[in-house]
């Protein structure tokens, strides 16, 4: 299998099954803990169903927007995905509100109450997304497709696309848990630099999330 066997394309509604798996895989950051499931008291099967429902709403401008995703595929099957969107572009809502509206509308009330009880765990780990930056989320490559540079190709494709569609945007940002050495190494090789680190001091955070520390990394476009 050569790197040219893979093609990059925009996601469509026919990709929601793979993208929901990609979101769950990326959320785990190499661990077994998926914050979107644990914090809301959901199992992964339930979460996947709700993720597909949210993607099908076709809300724009956040990490749960089908329009935000680029995919790598081989033989017409997706094997890697990454979300990227320009924060607060035009008259769109800030992405954190768009995402919160989607979750609040989709998840059962009891699970929202569970999240309310767990919200303290996120104190210190909530990172504001800067207006007019390209934001990345959910960088995921299926295990069988790793080692072909697909994550790098997807990130670079997002940057090149944004340079054409939003000429005013000159920076990209992503958030990564500190345990994910492979991902951090990749981002550094692509030109990302650590801008700030964030830490939760809650004792039980590691029961819910992959790590208690996150990095905000930034790249200036060439």
């Amino acid at each position: 299998m050569t790197d040219t066997d893979f093609t990059i394309r925009h996601a469509t509604l026919s990709d929601t099954d793979f993208i929901s798996d990609a979101i769950i895989g990326a959320e785990k950051s190499g661990t077994t803990r998926c914050g979107l499931a644990t914090l809301f008291g959901l199992d992964e099967t339930q979460l996947k169903t709700y993720l597909i429902s949210m993607l099908e709403e076709e809300i724009e401008g956040c990490e749960l927007s089908i329009d935000s995703f680029l995919l790598a595929e081989k033989d017409n099957s997706p094997v890697a995905a990454t979300a990227g969107w320009v924060e607060n572009a035009g008259d769109e809502l800030p992405s954190n509100q768009a995402k919160a509206n989607l979750i609040g509308y989709t998840f059962p009330h009891s699970n929202l109450m569970t999240m309310r009880d767990n919200a303290h765990l996120m104190k210190g780990l909530s990172i504001e997304r800067e207006t007019a930056t390209l934001q990345f989320e959910y960088v995921y490559v299926a295990p069988e497709a790793r080692g072909h540079g697909l994550a790098a190709r997807l990130i670079e494709a997002h940057i090149e696309h944004t340079k054409k569609t939003h000429r005013e945007v000159t920076r990209g940002q992503l958030q990564v848990f500190c345990n994910n050495d492979n991902a951090i190494g990749l981002y550094e090789r692509l030109g990302f630099e650590v801008k700030q680190s964030y830490r939760s001091s809650e004792d039980d955070v590691l029961s819910f999330l992959p790590h208690n520390e996150k990095l905000l990394m930034e790249i200036l476009f060439q």
Partner: protein
């Protein structure tokens, strides 16, 4: 309940969620004006409003909200 009373009740829900009152309640208020009003607290505030006033918002309605004025308008329209 008139608009001023509703505004005070919504303010109380915001304070209960973000755990401070370091903001000025106005028709122009947005989430970015309130420290701690992030995605998690946004969910709690909206859920709190739905419970308090026995209303249910549609996703389209939530995504059209621009500021406190449009939120108060939406709640009042649901309570009629």
């Amino acid at each position: 309940m008139n608009r001023d009373e509703l505004s005070e009740a919504v303010k109380a829900i915001i304070i209960d969620t973000v755990k401070h009152d370091d903001f000025v309640m106005s028709e122009e208020l947005t989430a970015t004006d309130v420290s701690g009003w992030d995605s998690l607290s946004h969910m709690s505030i909206i859920t709190g409003i739905e419970q308090k006033f026995s209303v249910k918002f549609k996703l389209k309605e939530l995504n059209k909200l621009k500021n406190m004025s449009s939120l108060l308008d939406l709640i009042l329209s649901k309570m009629q």
